[in-house]
């Protein structure tokens, strides 16, 4: 999309040999995350404990999912601006469906399962349209997905007619905010439900259910990108789409798949949103789109496609999440977050340019 970059880099030995540069290029992101984490651990009271780590991961799930969605698209050299509003759309659709199924007499667990599943299927639609526009009509991804952003926004607001989508059964909130097990003083262990204890007694909550679900999904997609034929093909498309065509890769179908997948992950994030916040609204994911893209970029993917891994994208997402939580817990005004994320983003891409990894 941006062609202003085709010139070769000034290959000045900025930092010694190529090997050294490649070494740093591959690892500074992780070093940065470690340093950042260490900094907040020492500086911010209450940062270095299990609870904070769980908060970090729990409230990061939407960003993690959208970042993976965005990564797949960015590896092909595209971009998906619609994921934030697809998330909102899915949060609304899932609640509407679950409430409808509940009213139709389905028991709550079944309604949740079925409603969630149908939403994920419906959630493919925006992506399929995006993919069709991009792959078959040649519409630039930026425009196609921006249009889809508008359409999803409009349809969402029409669906709820300007009011929150609400009315999920209690079970949804229990799953959405539940943990795998709870430890209460006196050796009481309780799985999935918080033990009844006297008010004021500290209960240790361990591993939010949703974090586990997200981790599994992210893991599966990491596998798909790295080890499946589909993953290999989308790297090839991003690396050299002509070559991919000539090697007999069904490029258009793959692109369709990538956008559908992106939209699927966004819908999943939307369903998760609905369970976490027991409400749905159009702009539920609007403000995290840029965090998601930034995470992918900080993780070392190239805007031009062909590079990026799920693991490093997660590191990128964690860098942002740690920064946000750390600043919040130290009581530093939020505004600094935007400035810092902006700066890290640019820094990351400069690093990627000067110290590219030798491997993908």
């Amino acid at each position: 999309m941006n062609t202003q970059d085709t010139g070769t880099l000034p290959r000045k030995a900025l930092l010694g040999s190529g090997a050294l540069r490649a070494f740093i290029g591959g690892r500074w992101v992780i070093a940065f995350l470690l340093l950042e984490t260490a900094y907040f651990c020492f500086r911010t009271e209450g940062f270095a404990n299990l609870n904070s780590a769980q908060i970090l991961l729990f409230y990061g799930v939407q960003v993690f999912l959208l970042a993976v969605a965005e990564l797949f698209v960015i590896v092909t050299g595209g971009i998906d601006l619609s994921v934030g509003y697809v998330l909102g759309f899915a949060s609304i659709v899932s609640i509407k469906l679950i409430v409808f199924l509940g009213n139709a007499g389905l028991p709550a667990p079944l309604a949740l399962l079925l409603g969630g599943a149908i939403t994920l299927v419906i959630g493919l639609v925006p992506g399929l349209i995006n993919g069709w526009l991009v792959a078959y009509l040649g519409v630039p991804p930026f425009i196609a997905t921006f249009s889809m952003l508008g359409v999803c926004h409009g349809v969402s607001e029409l669906l709820i007619n300007g009011i929150y989508a609400m009315g999920l059964p209690q079970l949804a909130a229990d799953i959405g905010n539940g943990h795998f097990f709870y430890l209460a003083p006196g050796g009481i262990v309780s799985f999935f439900t918080r033990p009844e204890v006297e008010r004021g007694v500290q209960v240790l909550e361990v591993i939010p259910i949703i974090v586990v679900v997200t981790a599994i999904v992210v893991g599966v997609f990491a596998f798909v990108l790295r080890r499946s034929r589909f993953g290999r093909h989308i790297y090839a498309i991003g690396g050299n789409s002509d070559a991919a065509v000539r090697a007999g890769i069904p490029v258009k179908r793959r692109l369709l798949g990538v956008y559908a997948l992106s939209s699927f992950l966004a819908s999943l994030a939307g369903v998760v949103y609905a369970f976490m916040y027991v409400s749905g609204k159009a702009d539920a994911g609007a403000s995290i789109l840029l965090d998601a893209i930034a995470a992918v970029m900080i993780g070392g993917a190239s805007m031009f496609g062909g590079t990026g891994t799920v693991g490093r994208t997660m590191v990128g997402a964690l860098i942002i999440a740690v920064l946000e939580l750390g600043l919040r817990m130290s009581g530093t005004p939020t505004f600094n977050k935007y400035i810092l994320v902006g700066a890290i983003l640019i820094f990351a891409v400069v690093m990627e340019r000067y110290m590219p990894e030798s491997r993908k």
Partner: protein, 251 residues
Amino acid sequence: MEYVLETRDIVKRFGGLTAVDRVSIGVEAGEVLALLGDNGAGKSTLIKLISGVYRPDEGEILMGGKTVRIESPIDALAAGIETIYQDLALAENLDVGANIFLGRERMKRSLGVLKVLDDPSMALEAQKVLDRLDIHIPSLKSTIKTLSGGQRQAVAISRSIYWDAKVLIMDEPTAALGIAEQRKVLNLVRTLKDQGIAIIIISHQMYDVFEVADRLAVMRRGVKVGERVVKDTSPDEVVGLIVGSETVGKH
């Protein structure tokens, strides 16, 4: 001897323009056919017709004497026609093995159920074919980005060979290479020829043509204007055919 690949009166039009006009060429096993012509003579279009990027409007393509339908790059590959374009069509972000197997990845079963990419075996096969062609690349793990022009060309050729090409089409294989690397590539072409592959080379470099080709065909404005056996012709005559000058054109 019978042609491995043959086109008969093949035609391709773009709007009002006829880019390839009733062209018939053929190439035998273990033979190198050079395809010559000025810019815009229709060489590339002809190549793209054979390799399935374009579909012909008229005429037919034959493999081993039988008509084949080539409607997409996949059809061409299936028929045993491999094409190495000038830009090599390599995914620079992937490693050697991945490129050789691009679009035809090897899979294995992991845990008995999941089908996953079998990178180790692809790397192994890549090493084998590189050895067969006597090509040395420092590390198969490195991405194409880090290789030199000649090494890339070698990877592209290895890819074609690996898939048991009957016909190999090379578009300007030596352009943009240093002298030493040009030699290597030409040697490679000879090796391939000895292994019985039919090769079509497009080139502007007269030296290359006379070095490796057995026959040559010249195109001008979409039409085949001449065909010569290399050892019976001279560079001057060929240039004459290419530019269409009258004096040397009569033969």
